[in-house]
């Protein structure tokens, strides 16, 4: 069975060779999805019903060559103009504001970007959530790590000019471990950098071709679990890495790994849910 189906698909691939990649891929995927869902006898009958792959390809080529009956300029049906919030200019403005808004016009610029983001239909809901929350999550983790950082050590000169060997307590502060002060400002820089990344990512996703807008945008149980699980795993791993690498705090690192494990568990639970309505 699978052999005949594979042969048929090979012939289809050969026939579709000259076709634009997007169309060829759609046809191939549609036919394969149908054939693979049937058992041997039904698949044979289906292949007979589908006909010669060469005919499928020539029918497709014929349709591609036609001028469309509808669309911009056609008098027969109203055109569906792209809404303003999905236009290229809007997408670019939103992405740029999120990326650099906080720097160019402090705080307000970024807020404007976020408002534009949530009013737009150019992004799926989960993309909006990630772009808004992730930079703060990352910076927040670093800030949280600052709780573990030691106070900056101020070394007071002792005595009245006599030379003396430095005491143990003056050398116990490790200059290689960032202090509270350092971590706070680093986390702000991280926030700015993370927003740059979020803005760039929004631009990439928003300007990508062939993005379908579905009637309802269900985040759904699966989507929510994916977001939560993914965040827990990333946060746990990142935080434990910081604790070990910077602050040598194995206990806290271990706790973070537990958080990451919980996140992984959430993702496993999510995998057992059947996918429903995942937008492509």
């Amino acid at each position: 069975m699978t052999k005949t189906v594979d042969e048929y698909l090979e012939r289809l691939d050969a026939a579709l060779g000259a076709m634009p990649y997007a169309t060829a891929r759609e046809i191939r995927a549609g036919v394969e999805e149908e054939l693979r869902s049937l058992d041997a006898a039904d698949a044979d009958e289906r292949m007979r019903a589908l006909g010669d792959p060469a005919d499928i390809a020539s029918a497709a080529a014929g349709t591609l060559g036609e001028a469309p009956a509808y669309g911009p300029g056609s008098p027969y049906a109203p055109t569906s103009p792209v809404p303003a919030t999905r236009s290229t200019g809007y997408v670019v403005a939103t992405g740029t504001l999120i990326a650099v808004g906080a720097i160019v016009v402090p705080v307000v610029g970024w807020i404007a970007g976020v408002i534009m983001l949530w009013c737009s239909s150019a992004w799926h809901r989960w993309e909006k959530i990630v772009a808004t929350v992730a930079p703060f999550a990352v910076a927040g983790l670093i800030r949280l790590a600052s709780l573990l950082a030691p106070e900056p050590v101020v070394v007071e000169p002792r005595g009245s000019g006599e030379f003396h060997a430095p005491g143990l307590e003056e050398y116990s502060a490790n200059p290689f471990i960032p202090s509270d002060y350092d971590v706070f400002w680093t986390s702000l820089l991280v926030l700015v950098a993370a927003n740059l990344g979020a803005g760039a990512w929004l631009l990439l996703r928003g300007l990508a071709p062939q993005r379908d807008r579905r009637l309802r945008e269900p985040l759904g149980a699966r989507g929510a679990l994916g977001l939560i699980g993914g965040l827990l795993v990333l946060a746990g791993l990142l935080f434990s890495g910081i604790c070990v690498a910077l602050f040598a705090q194995p206990l806290v690192a271990l706790l973070s790994l537990v958080v990451a494990a919980v996140g992984a568990g959430v993702l496993i639970v999510r995998a057992s849910l059947t996918p429903a309505g995942r937008s492509i």
């Binding site: 549609g30 999805e33 390809a57 036609e66 009956a69 027969y76 569906s80 059947t274 996918p275």
Partner: protein, 108 residues
């Protein structure tokens, strides 16, 4: 529709027909192809996919993946808000149009 009635006529209505089918329920590729070939609106599944591509580009249909009854994940198509508007506009124009044509081609 017989083959003689003409490819042009079919070409004009196949997109609204797809919208009409999908407005009732989302369908996957083969399902749509069967429904349309049964009425002679398309020649084969090869004709269908480029049209689906055009409809997606216009934003009147959207694709999504879902696992079906039997289990395998399939790519379904559904109509969007813009698609429902386009379908409604077509419905409004279709009735008077067909009545006018009928009156004019009616034999003695």
């Amino acid at each position: 529709m017989t083959a003689d009635v003409g490819a042009q006529l079919r070409k004009g209505v196949v997109e609204p027909c797809i919208l009409g089918l999908l407005a009732r329920e989302p369908m996957y590729g083969w399902q749509l192809s069967e429904a349309l070939t049964a009425e002679g609106l398309i020649a084969s599944i090869g004709t269908l996919y480029p049209i689906l591509g055009r409809l997606r580009e216009r934003g009147v249909i959207a694709a999504f993946e879902q696992s079906s009854q039997a289990g395998p994940v399939r790519k379904y198509y559904e109509v969007t808000e813009a698609g429902e508007r386009e379908l409604a506009a077509f419905r409004e124009q279709w009735q008077p149009f067909t009545r006018a044509v009928e009156r004019m081609v009616e034999g003695p």
